[in-house]
Amino acid sequence: MFQENEDDCKFAACTYFAKNHPGEMCGSNGLPLTPSSITILGRAQRLLTIEHANLCTYLDVIRGKHERIIVVAEVIGKSLKECKSKFSYEEVTNIAKQVACGLKFLHDQDITHRTLSDDNILIDNDGRVKLFNYGLYYMTDRGKEVSFPLGLPRYLSPETILNGGGPAADVWSFGIILLELCIGKLWNNLKPGPILRRILTLVHANNPAERIAREHDCFEQYKQVPENLRNVIEKCLKIYPSDRATFTELVEDLSQMDSKQLVEVKRPRGLMGCKLQYLYHWWQLAGGDIQAELKKNYLVKNSPPILSMPIAILLDGCTIGGKSGALFDRRLAKYSLDLLKSRLSHVPPHDYYPLMHERRKEYDAVTLPKIIRERDTEYQFYRLLWFQRLLHGYPYTAPYIRAEAEVDIPPLVRGDVWAALLGVVGDIEEQYERIDKETPTPTDRQIDVDIPRCHQYCWLLCGSAGHRTLKRLLKAWLLTNPQYVYWQGLDSLTAPFLYLNFCNEARAFACLSAFVPKFLHKFFLKDNSAVIKEYLAKFWQMTAFHEPELATHLHEINFVPELFAIPWFLTMFSHVFPLHKIVHLWDALLVEGPALPLFMGVGILRQLRDTLLSSGFNECILLFSDLPEIDIGECVKESIEMCRSSPRSISYRRFTNEAQTKDPMDIVEIPMETLFTEISPRINLSDFFSLICQDKCCVIDIRSNLLYEKSCIDGSINVPYSGVHLGQRELRALGLHPQRVIQEAIKLKKNVVVAAVEEETAQLFTDYLVKCGVPRVCILHGGISALLTNVPSLFTVPPKRNGHK
């Protein structure tokens, strides 16, 4: 279907070094200057999103050691420089049209190419033309972030040589390229100096194109060029930029002249039909190594560092001696996809087009930890294709996406999937556009202080592009949520969305706007103390529910969640973990819903369990001041397990944006004061009922045995509260039968529901059970009386047991 030689290489890399800041300079904010490579990385992100038929797609920008930048982009065919045969005028016109189209698109995006030359215009066998690495000038902030000059001397426009030059400089370069295509290479074998001098002398010429042709003794040849093409060249090669044609005009002119029809190439099927970004991603997973090829081509040279050691450093940081800057090498390293092709060679063709309602294949990899699945070529291959399908159908496929996201989310499309999980729809760009992100507000100062401290290990977020966008997002959010104020931590909360949607500010904003009401309703009120107190109290109850021993210990040393857990929940853990862990945490969060964070808190405590149990108050404070490494995969797994196995009502909070229920079966709301005193959570009647039906609970009736014998819940045991010695922390003290029943319940992981008439006795008794180390203890909300009113069918008269007195 395609020529071997050409299609072997789908992408290429080039590399260069960013400028080093001389000495020790600080920015205006007193913080150290951002390294140039970081700035380049931030600026280049925008280029990664550009797609156009005549532009090579950028695939990746990598920051290497010692300020090295590696740019990976699509390639096709070969460059004009490598094309030895001469093109016909018809072909030249066609090439010119395609180049002009590409450049017009760039200029419409406010991107100046500035480095247009014969070696970055690529053409394939079908005559398709694409511009390669057109963003060098843009990503280096007009060349400011590198020490080498951009472009090749013979394509520089006169005003560029004089250190001016705007987008119109590209028109000049374009004109030179065309002229070269017509009359051959210009100023061959001349050094940069003489070439530049000649270009500058052209300002005195009336018709620079003719003058150049004469200089090269090609005037006759030039005259033979069709007049319309010559006109185009002359329109470009005007000395004054204002006289030059724009690409909009050029595209129009050239389209009229262009008679050549490009052969329609059928979109390749199978692997080669996949999105280039995916191919690159899979290729990397399959073991593709960008740096290795660069090394092989001597584009990355490793001179031993000891040979370039400086000889002295002055106090002000001025370094004497040492390495001299590496030279900028314009060559490329091309990569073949053979590695990936052979890795995926056994994949049957129909697997490339998964069908939505087809039964999904099971992959063995699903059982492996997420981190490993994310590195598995074949697994990611299937997942990505599948998700691509599903995302294509969003929002109609939302339930499918949710179901698949429960398994895992391919890192490459995580931003899209999160937006889908959060239900982001509509014209978010326009909505975002309408928000004023520029006008200064009183919170700006605090935001400016916090942003340079927010996830700064991340190269995207620590550059100026990241800082600027984060600030805009925060301001926009505050403006659209006037009921809220800026609490420190909002920056950390925004960071993951920015990180995943770096070039899609509007979507990052839409995600944030959807996330907060769902997970952090009312957390950002000016007075959020009640909300946070309730959350922490609930968290403490969940801890007692799942980790009674740990909870008892922490209660005893008086180590309360206010001391450590506020940043956990206020930022949904984004302040405590690095981004690569947050994304896994939030993957689960977005699927499972707002109850999960409570259990994640418990999951973290569980991982630290042994340390905590042996620590006193001071050690605990120290431990949490700088959280030790947490195995996030394990934590997520356990918290989901806890969350799913817990009755929904026990994690009920009043401060959510869910509708209030009036049904007495569903109510569990209690006054805040009561909540703060209760160690175990309450379960509502409907959850209780379903637990009973599934035989998943052990009911302890703590009324007096007289009441119990009159009528009791079917299957419950009676432990009269009056007979319990709260001081004794042993189940044995309850008597043989209750002890057996409770131990059996613990073994079967049943919930232990305490039913009483008076709230107070229920509280004290559950407290007692927790201290005895009984997990999954909760209080029946409303007690026996409420149950009797609403579900009288559960009641029965206990059988008189033989031998029991």
Partner: protein, 557 residues
């Protein structure tokens, strides 16, 4: 690129629309817009609409007009600037030659295509050869050869010392004899004459030995290089090589190679290691070791035949041309021109064997003192000027600690807080030595701050280490090489805390520099530090750094 001429200018966008009641009565809107405009024009339109309460039905029109306006003005902005430039050029108001020259230089210095073709330097060729060979089966032979060379040098040194000792003894006896006979058979003049004679003799002997050693080193170096290059050729041609056949070992007596002397008792060192985590969210792991030792022990190779010594050397040779170098910080009071201890001790250590890879230390020091002169003089002049001006920043300027004592003859010398760097291939455990110039009297005093030149110097050292692939570095924890009486326990604790905290800060900072990772840091206490003091300082570390706790695998319950 050279200076950018692009400065933003402000243009006023004008827009008018009729009022609802009267078609002829117009609302006029004027908005100043920065050209070139950095943000999106559509956003600007929204702000304008909100601010001036402009009816929303004008939104589309405003969007279009403003975008057009900005595009037009941006084009004009570029074109006008360029036109001015071109006109200047036409009228020869521009220094064309200067501009072309600077472009020429830029291209020549920075772009491969236009650069003068430079071949690989001898140094790099040798480096590549050596690196390849030490990572081949030839390694052992190489080390043996180097050991034998070192041994020869050491023997020569021993002979020299004995010779000089003998001479000195003889001279002393002779002198004593003379003095005894003073006023009987000898006169003062005769004694003076003898003294002069003896001095001359000493110089002569020392000179003779010196040149002999020099010659020996040079021969060894040349031989070593030639042999290595040959071996490499052979290695490449046969591609499988077990032991180099033409080893110059043949010229050494066999027992010189084999006899392993019993390991010399080095004495129990006090040391404690920690694995620490740095960073609030993303954590990096580093190793930290507190050890009571003389930092010069890292440099000197005492006995070549000792197996522990040779394994130390082995590690050093293997990593010499890698990107995992080891460095040490030595504090000195003297500039490279006039070495004093501990630099001289380092010189002695380095002299014990031939430096096969780099220039002799003496050469390096001489070279450094010559090459730093000009930049240092410039800097010092600037400093003096700033001080003379009584600049308010003078007190707070870095170097305030040593800055007050300028004498005219020091103006070309490195000052406190400056660093000079030597590199070595023949030291025991380090490749790079950072000589940090300090003012010992100010370091003796207890109260130094994080702005002290020595601390700032440490920062520069860590930064240099980071950008030059030094991944393991040893630092004097108390910023002193020896214990002295003012160093009480409290003093030491205070100093250690300061240094550790500052280094922690620098390491956090280093994470953003994008260089090599500082994997291992050794903090050395003076060797005579008391065990109690050591214990006290060792417990300080976990308080300052976060000790990583090992991940525990728990069996599933």
């Amino acid at each position: 690129m050279t200076a950018e001429i692009s400065q933003n200018i402000t243009k006023t966008f004008k827009f008018s629309y009729p009022t609802c009641t009267n078609e002829d009565l117009l609302f006029k809107l004027e908005v100043p817009v920065d050209i070139p405009h950095a943000g999106s024009t559509r956003e600007l339109v929204q702000r304008v609409i909100n601010m001036f309460h402009i009816p929303v039905y004008l939104e589309e029109e405003l969007n279009e007009k403003l975008a057009q306006f900005v595009a037009e003005e941006t084009k004009n902005f570029h074109n006008e600037r360029d036109m001015k430039l071109l006109n200047q050029l036409k009228n020869s108001e521009i220094n064309v030659e200067g501009i072309v020259k600077s472009w020429e230089k830029l291209f020549k210095d920075n772009v491969m295509e236009f650069a003068e073709q430079k071949g690989t330097s001898d140094e790099e060729v040798f480096a590549a050869a050596y690196h390849k060979l030490v990572h081949s089966p030839a390694l052992e032979t190489i080390l043996q050869v180097e050991n034998s060379y070192a041994k020869t040098v050491m023997n020569t040194l021993k002979n020299r010392d004995e010779d000089i000792k003998k001479l000195t003894q003889m001279q002393t006896e002779e002198m004593e004899e003379k003095v005894r006979l003073l006023n009987t058979t000898t006169t003062e003049e005769e004694i003076n004459e003898l003294a002069a004679q003896q001095f001359e003799q000493q110089a002569l002997v020392a000179g003779r030995w010196g040149s002999q050693l020099d010659a020996l080193r040079q021969t060894q170096r040349a031989q070593h290089r030639a042999w290595l290059m040959n071996t490499l050729e052979e290695y490449q041609s046969t591609s499988a090589l077990n032991t180099p056949s033409n080893s110059p070992l043949a010229t050494f007596s066999p027992e010189a190679v084999i006899v392993p002397s019993p390991a010399a008792p080095t004495g129990e060192r006090l040391e404690e290691s920690f694995t620490i985590h740095l960073g609030s969210q993303l954590k990096q792991t580093h190793n930290i070791r507190i050890v009571a030792m003389d930092l010069l022990d890292l440099c000197s190779v005492e006995q070549v035949d000792n197996p522990t010594e040779s394994s130390r050397r082995l590690q050093t040779s293997l990593s010499l041309y890698s990107s995992e170098l080891a460095g040490v910080v030595l504090l000195t009071e003297s500039p490279p021109r006039r070495p004093a201890p501990p630099t001289t001790l380092l010189l002695d250590a380095a002299a014990r064997s031939t430096e096969h890879h780099f220039a002799d230390v003496e050469h390096q020091l001489r070279d450094i003192s010559e090459r730093v002169q000009e930049p240092v003089e410039r800097r010092n002049k600037q400093r003096v000027k700033e001080q003379a001006e009584g600049a308010p920043g003078g007190g707070g300027a870095p170097g305030g600690g040593g800055g007050g004592r300028f004498r005219s003859n020091t103006k070309r010398n490195l000052q406190t807080g400056d660093i000079f760097i030597t590199r070595h291939s023949n030291l025991a455990e380090v490749h790079v030595v950072f000589h940090l110039i300090v003012d010992d009297s100010s370091l003796r005093s207890g109260d130094i701050t994080s702005r002290h030149p020595a601390i700032l110097g440490l920062r520069n050292i860590l930064k240099a280490a980071c950008s030059n692939d030094i991944t393991s570095i040893s630092i004097p924890l108390l910023l002193r090489h020896e214990m002295s009486e003012e160093m009480t326990a409290a003093w030491c604790a205070r100093r250690a805390e300061l240094v550790l905290k500052c280094v922690k800060g620098f390491m956090l900072e280093a994470a953003g520099w994008g260089g090599a990772e500082l994997r291992t840091l050794h903090f050395a206490l003076p060797p005579r530090a008391a065990p109690a003091l050591f214990a006290q300082l060792a417990t300080l570390t976990p308080n300052i750094f976060r000790i990583s706790n090992p991940v525990k695998c728990k069996p599933k319950a």
